[in-house]
């Protein structure tokens, strides 16, 4: 066993929280924004949607909904690649995965601050 200090618990914590958010909230939002709204089963005008996203609470909700599951993805994606045999690229895969999640978080902030 290595006794080195690692950032593993930090990323694992985000993985776990992201997993909870994804489990509770993603299916219904995927149904709404991927199918129901584009197909017109539920029709909400642009103006109405814009007013909704303009609310600070809705913004905070969207931030957590989008950003946290990205860390869940990063953690799992990293181990998918390891599990199919990319052992020699262990460190770069980990860095690239978590960095992508951080980039996604910044992009989410950027999009939400434009409202």
């Amino acid at each position: 066993m290595s006794t080195r200090k690692t950032s593993e618990p930090f990323w694992w914590g985000l993985f776990s929280v992201g997993g909870v958010v994804a489990a509770f909230l993603v299916p219904v939002h995927l149904f709404l924004h991927g199918l129901a709204i584009p197909l017109g089963w539920i029709s909400i005008s642009h103006a109405r949607m814009l007013a909704l996203v303009g609310q600070p609470l809705v913004k905070a909700y969207l931030f957590l909904l989008i950003a946290l599951p990205l860390y869940h993805w990063a953690h799992r994606f990293r181990f998918i690649l390891e599990d199919v045999g990319f052992h020699s690229l262990r460190a770069p895969i980990a860095v690239a995965s978590y960095a992508s999640a951080v980039a996604g978080t910044l992009a989410t902030l950027w999009v939400l601050f434009r409202f």
């Binding site: 909870v20 219904v28 939002h29 994606f77």
Partner: protein, 137 residues
């Protein structure tokens, strides 16, 4: 602390396996599908973020984006992604019910009951969000 001779840090041993090992057994396959669900969820979230961004760009950009999502390819993607998202929820709730020990007084609440309560909360939450949008349509 024991270390491997001649190295500062013990090496990790990886058994040699073909990259398709997860196709060999239904349980391995289910494990891999559970892991892969995160990829579909992440793609959806990125597409959703773009949708929110188009909303801020104005009615025309937003309408054009929704038009794109109506194409057969995107519909197929979202149907498949929804199946994966539901699979993530079910496996996650079943797993956490076992890992998370809930006690009432001295007694441990059976994991099955914890799972049932979580599934109930999930259903109520999902229907609530759906209704919230329906009332605003």
């Amino acid at each position: 602390m024991m270390t491997a001779p001649g190295s500062g840090r013990p090496g990790l041993y990886y058994p040699k396996m073909p990259s398709t090992w997860w196709l060999r057994h239904p349980a391995y396959f289910r494990f891999m599908m559970r892991e892969v669900s995160s990829v579909f969820i992440a793609i959806f979230l990125v597409v959703f973020l773009v949708q929110v961004h188009q909303l801020s760009r104005g009615p025309d950009a937003y309408a054009a984006f929704l038009e794109m999502l109506r194409s057969p390819g995107w519909i197929a993607f979202h149907v498949v992604a929804l199946a994966f998202a539901l699979y993530h929820s079910v496996t996650w709730f079943n797993l956490t019910a076992v890992v998370q020990v809930v006690r009432v007084g001295e007694r441990q609440v059976p994991p099955r009951l914890v799972a049932a309560a979580t599934f109930g909360l999930w259903t109520v939450l999902s229907l609530g969000i759906l209704l919230w949008f329906l009332l605003r349509s």
